[in-house]
């Protein structure tokens, strides 16, 4: 301080001095430490809360919005859509979803994702809440432990979610009918499951159906259970009337599958998960005994087969034992004629006890099935086209006996089928029927009927003669007497009219005067009644003087 100082400065106050506290460098550094800790905590929490990011492809992003739509598991939000993009070169969209940390297990390999939207179907209405909340992505948590981050989204909610307890069974059908995913499965008309998957087999010939039967009903699916298509209405008419069969109103529209057990079948053991079953077209087919033995037959007909087609029954002694499978028209170049080759399947077990007996006989004589058939053909078994009804033109093929059959053809095998010789039918059969009608007409005893008629005529003639001779004269006499009686009656009536009905007759005079007196009496009576009404006291006191009854 070498510079000159204004002396007045000396008069300025001087500070009080205190001991300087030596301690921590500066408390202010606590602030950034706290701030960094706070920011770090938030960052760590955000990092910990962030679950996996997954990508799902959908056909349509309808209703989904970035940042708005969430992913829900059992309607609990578990993640958000962070972006929606187009998949390059594919007509699909890619939805990126940020799952919450706790929902990381939803990214299992077999998890399924779908867009929940309002849906209205014949089976019911679903997703109504999304009308207000907007669409969201539903998720079904898979059971796999493997985690993946790419999924292919379903277009519809899955019928069965992984957390449902039950078993799945495979059913193959020729025809899906009106069945679809979610169609119900019934046991004794109670819904116990539904169709979880439905697809054509790779060759496209059959339909592969996966049904899910929820616990505890899955134990009811035993190895003896039979499944049938319960869609629509089963209408049948038989001797006992009209039958209408349906599982529930919903199945009429939406279709469904039912299962049950054949009468007499053992209860069986619960079927294993994934067991395979066959779908019968209706309850009747399902309940029918299974045809274990199939015997393919081939037949060649040299007559038009109009009205015959696949499914036409094969009849033996009145039993329907099989049906036609295919029908092919062929041409014989040597004889220059057309013929029809018919392939059919026969189920010999439908013969019941007869088949057992035949099998027994075959065993006893050590003959094979074809040899047995050969023996039957040798005894005259032939196939014949017959008409079930002349009116509807329905045809069937009958296996009949023709002891003197024209063609004792041997049974040969053709394409694995046994050829049964045929007999011409159709027209022959109509002839048969006509013949039988003629025979019945023949049997009518026209002679006897004629003589009886003649006898009756004779009896009638004699009766008429008798009437003519004896009854007619008496009748004439009676008519004369009746005429006299009528005259007398007329006279009596005339006298009566003169005495009674004439104006000046005595009766008339007397009657008139009587009536006049009666009228007078009635008038007096009315006067008295009026007076009494006005003067009731007169009954006791008599008439007051001066007052006249009116």
């Amino acid at each position: 301080m070498s510079e000159p100082v204004d002396p007045r400065l000396e008069d300025l106050p001087v500070p009080v001095t205190r001991r300087r506290k030596r301690g921590w460098p500066s408390a202010v550094w606590i602030v950034p430490v706290l701030a960094v800790v706070a920011a770090g905590t938030l960052a760590i929490r955000a990092y910990l809360e962030a679950g996996p990011t997954i990508e799902i492809t959908f056909d349509s992003a309808e209703g989904l919005e970035v940042g708005q739509s969430d992913v829900r598991y059992k309607n609990v939000p578990v993640g958000k859509i962070s972006s929606i993009e187009l998949v390059p070169d594919q007509p699909q969209i890619l939805v990126t979803v940020k799952l919450q940390r706790g929902a990381a297990s939803l990214a299992a390999k077999d998890s399924r994702f779908w867009v929940e939207r309002p849906r209205i179907g014949v089976g019911g209405v679903s997703g109504v809440s999304t009308l207000l909340s907007g669409a969201y992505i539903g998720v079904d948590r898979g059971t796999s432990n493997e985690r993946v981050d790419r999924f292919v989204g379903l277009e519809k909610p899955p019928g069965v979610t992984h957390d449902q307890v039950g078993r799945r069974f495979r059913i193959t059908a020729d025809d899906a009918g009106s069945l679809g995913v979610q169609s119900p499965v019934y046991l004794r008309r109670q819904q116990v499951g539904l169709i979880s998957e439905l697809a054509l087999t790779p060759d496209g010939k059959r339909v592969d159906i996966e049904v899910f039967i929820s616990s505890p009903y899955d134990r009811d699916v035993t190895d003896t259970a039979v499944f049938w298509n319960a869609s629509g209405l089963d209408v049948s008419i038989d001797a006992s009337g009209l039958h209408l069969d349906t599982q529930s109103l919903a199945t009429v529209v939406a279709g469904g599958i039912a299962f049950g057990f054949r009468d007499g079948d053992p209860p069986g053991h619960p079927a294993a998960d994934g067991a395979e079953f066959n779908l019968f077209e209706d309850r009747g087919h399902a309940m029918a005994r299974p045809d274990r033995t199939r015997l393919p037959l081939a037949m060649r007909f040299h007559e038009p087969l109009r009205g015959v087609g696949p499914g036409t029954p094969i009849d033996f002694e009145g039993l329907r034992i099989g049906q036609i499978d295919t029908l092919n028209l062929g041409y014989d170049a040597i004889r220059h004629e057309f013929f029809s080759d018919v392939d059919a399947t026969v189920y010999p077990e439908r013969l019941g006890a007869a088949y057992a007996a035949l099998v027994d006989e075959g065993k006893r004589r050590d003959r094979t099935g074809p040899q047995m058939l050969q023996a039957l053909v040798a005894r005259g078994l032939r196939a014949q086209l017959r008409s079930a009804s002349l009116i509807t033109g329905q045809l069937f093929i009958a296996l009949r006996w023709f002891p003197n059959a024209r063609s004792p053809a041997p049974v040969v095998e053709r394409d694995g089928a046994w050829v049964v010789p045929t007999e011409p039918g159709g027209t022959d059969q109509i002839q048969d029927q006509v013949e039988s009608i003629v025979a019945k007409i023949d049997k009518i005893p026209f002679d006897a009927i004629g003589s009886d008629t003649r006898d009756a005529m004779h009896a009638a003639t004699s009766l008429l003669g008798h009437l003519d001779r004896e009854v007619v004269p008496t009748a004439q006499q009676l008519v004369g007497q009746a005429g006299a009686a009528m005259t007398a009656l007329r006279d009596s009536l005339g006298a009566l009219r003169d005495n009674v009905a004439a104006p000046d007759s005595a009766i008339q005079q007397t009657a008139r005067s009587t009536l006049e007196q009666l009228e007078f009496a009635a008038r007096s009576l009315r006067g008295l009644a009026d007076y009494l009404q006005h003067h009731p006291e007169s009954i006791l006191r008599g008439r007051a003087s001066g007052s006249e009854p009116r």
Binding site: M1, E3, V5, L9, E10, L12, P13, V14, P15, V16, T17, R18, R19, R20, K21, R22, S26, V28, W29, V31, P32, L34, A35, V36, A38, A39, L42, A43, A46, G67, Q68, L132, S133, G134
Partner: protein, 214 residues
């Protein structure tokens, strides 16, 4: 130009009494004889205070922008906005002016403030002689606009209080509000901690020792 420091003169921060700093030992500190407030030539540890508060503000700046500041439920929509997404929302809706204001007040200003404070601290530490007048003006501007950065917090607080229409519309503050308020408050404190006189101290390095300033 002569400074108060050069004449051993200091003014009390509490009552503006001019004091002649005399007879203060090495281990003693001065106290105003009138109002009992500590007396120093310059704010104590001004630069390290600014630095500490600035670092704290910068640390909180990240969660303030990354987290949700406001949840709005406007049936059937539900939004969770960060400051930046809110600005984008306003911009997309055509409210460009509003978007610009929010962007400036909430995102730009804190950054500029921290940057400016950092510049001032560095320039005074290094005793730069560059345009002290302009730097002083910069500091005054910082002090004034700093208050407006609380705009966002007030908006959220007001909306949350006013818009409560049950299921139909609801606004609730998000987790970013606290860090954001922290940023604003800390930057204000930081700029208040800065001693603008330090800008004019360059060239007097050989004046009183470091201790004399404090």
């Amino acid at each position: 130009m002569i400074r108060g420091v050069d004449l051993q003169l200091a003014s009390c921060h509490g009552c503006d009494l001019v004091i002649r700093m005399r007879g203060i030992g090495r281990d003693a500190s001065a106290v105003c004889p009138r109002c009992d407030a500590p007396v120093r030539f310059r704010k104590r540890n001004a630069r390290s205070h600014v630095l500490a508060l600035g670092v704290a503000a910068a640390a909180l700046y990240f969660p303030a922008n990354a987290l949700t500041i406001m949840y709005t439920e406007q049936f059937p929509e539900r939004r969770a906005d960060t400051i930046l997404s809110g600005v984008k929302f306003l911009w997309d809706r055509g409210s460009w002016a509003l978007a610009a204001i929010v962007f400036t007040a909430s995102i730009l200003v804190p950054v500029l403030k921290l940057g400016a404070l950092g510049f001032l601290v560095i320039s005074t530490t290094r005793h730069w002689a560059w345009r002290p007048r302009a730097r002083t003006r910069l500091y005054r501007v910082l002090e004034v606009i700093g208050h407006w950065s609380m705009l966002d917090v007030f908006v959220v607080a007001l909306l949350a209080a006013v818009v409560q229409l049950g299921q139909f519309a609801r606004v609730s503050p998000g987790p970013a509000v606290l860090p954001f308020a922290g940023v604003v408050i800390l930057t204000m404190l930081a700029s208040a901690s800065f001693d603008a006189r330090a800008i004019w101290d360059q060239g007097w390095d050989r004046g009183p020792g470091r201790g004399a300033y404090e």
